[in-house]
Assembly symmetry: D2
Homo-oligomer: 137 residues x 4
Amino acid sequence: MSEAKCITRTRVRYGETDKMGVAYHAHYLNWFEMGRSDFCRANGKSFAIWESEGVLLPVVEAHCRYKSPLYYEDEIDIETTVTKLTKVSVVFSNRIFHADTGRIAAEGYTKHAFTSADGKLLRDGNPLYEWLSNMFM
Amino acid sequence: MSEAKCITRTRVRYGETDKMGVAYHAHYLNWFEMGRSDFCRANGKSFAIWESEGVLLPVVEAHCRYKSPLYYEDEIDIETTVTKLTKVSVVFSNRIFHADTGRIAAEGYTKHAFTSADGKLLRDGNPLYEWLSNMFM
Amino acid sequence: MSEAKCITRTRVRYGETDKMGVAYHAHYLNWFEMGRSDFCRANGKSFAIWESEGVLLPVVEAHCRYKSPLYYEDEIDIETTVTKLTKVSVVFSNRIFHADTGRIAAEGYTKHAFTSADGKLLRDGNPLYEWLSNMFM
Amino acid sequence: MSEAKCITRTRVRYGETDKMGVAYHAHYLNWFEMGRSDFCRANGKSFAIWESEGVLLPVVEAHCRYKSPLYYEDEIDIETTVTKLTKVSVVFSNRIFHADTGRIAAEGYTKHAFTSADGKLLRDGNPLYEWLSNMFM
C-alpha cells in the first residue's frame, strides 16, 4: 500500500556548515531531493528506475523558508508529500524537523515537469504521473 | 558611486552538473550568493567586512524559477539587485542569463534577516541597513 | 567499549552525480567526513563535542583512489579506522563499499592536525589525542 | 601555441566555508577541476568538446596537501599543468595560491583514465592523448 507521507532521517555533515556555524541554505534543497527519492522508493519504485524507464523530473521551481538553524551533527527528519499533481507537473512539499525535539527547521517545495530522457515535456500524461495519481485515489 | 545593479560572470563547473547532464538546481543558490557578495564588493564594502564588523545576513527564504537548462562550461551572468529593504530584512533578487545569448536561465530571490554575530535579530536598524538604504536614495 | 572500525551506511544523492552519470569524485571526501564523525560518535564522544571543548581537526592532506563507479541511489558502506596517531596529527583511513555486493568502490585517507579553536597547532598532546590513544591500547 | 601552464582566478564562495571559518577541504577538488577545464580551453579545445567527441576523463586518483587556510572572498589562483601522460592516463597537477600574496595555499593532483562515453578504458591511444602529447613536444 502507498505511503502518502515519507520521513527520511539524516544528519548535518561538516561540509554542509558555513562560517556562521550553521547549515548553509543551499543544502536544504539536497535534503528535499533525498526526501523525494525516499518517497518514491518507499512507495515501491525508485526514482532511478523511473529515470531508466524514460521519465525525468527536472526542477522548474524551488522554494524554502528557513525557520530555525541546524548545526553540524544535528539529526533531521525530512518529511515529503505530494501536494499538487497535474499531467505535466508535480509539486513535492517538504518540511524539515529537528529530530530530537520535533521542532520545525524549514519548509518548502519543489515543482517538477515530467519530461522524456531528451528533455521534451510530456504533455499527455506518463507512467510516473499515473503512478502518483493512483497513490492518491 | 553606488551600483544599483551588479553583474557577475562565472562558468558552470563539472561538479555542478548532474546525471541529467545539466546544472543541478541547488547550485543556483550558490550563484545567487556570488552575486550578493559581488554586489557589496562592487559598491565599496565587501560582505566579509560587514560580517567582521558584526552584521550577519542569514537566509530566511529562498526562491528560484528555472527557465532553461545550463550545461557544463556554459558562461553565465548573474544579475543582482536589492528589491526590498526594511530595518529588519533585505531581499536580493537575481536573474541568471546565458552569457552568449543573453537568454534568461533562471530568476529568484533570497530574503535575509539582519542579525548580530551571535544570531540575534537586529530590530532597530544597523550599519548595513543604513548603507543599503543610502544606496537607493 | 571502543570500536576500532566503524561502518556508516548512506546513499548517493542525485546532486552528487555528474554529467558522466556517476558520483562526482569530490563528494567522496564528504563521505570520508561522515565516516570520521560517525567513528567518534560510535566511540562515545561526538566530534561536535570535541570541537566545543576546543580541539579542531583541520585536514592537512587528503587522498582517494577511485576503483569502481557509484550511481545515484546506490547504497554505500563507509569504513573508517585510525591508521596513524601522533601527538600532533591523526590519519583516518576510509574504504567505501557497494553495500549490495561488498565490492570496494574507493579507498583513501585524510590526515589532520590537532589545533586549538584559534587554529594554533597543539604540539604537546591534547584530550582528543589521549582519547584516540587509549582506544588502541 | 600551447600553454604548458594555466592560471585560473576565482574567489572562495560563502557556501565553500565551513564552521571552522575556512574553505572546506573537499572544495579544493572543484577548484582543481576548474583549472583542468581552463587548461584545455586555454589550449584551444574545451573539455566539453572532447567529451562530446567521445573521450571522457574519469578521476582514478586524487590527492591534496593543504598548506594555509583560505577564507570567504579570498581570491585564489589555480595553477594547472600536465605532469604525466601515458596512452591510458594523464595526471594534472595543481597548486593554489593566495592571489594577493602569491603564497601557496594547497597543492595536489588528479589522475585520470581515458575512457569512451560508455566508460570503457581506451588502451591504444585516443585523440585527447594525441593532443596533450603534441602540446609537450
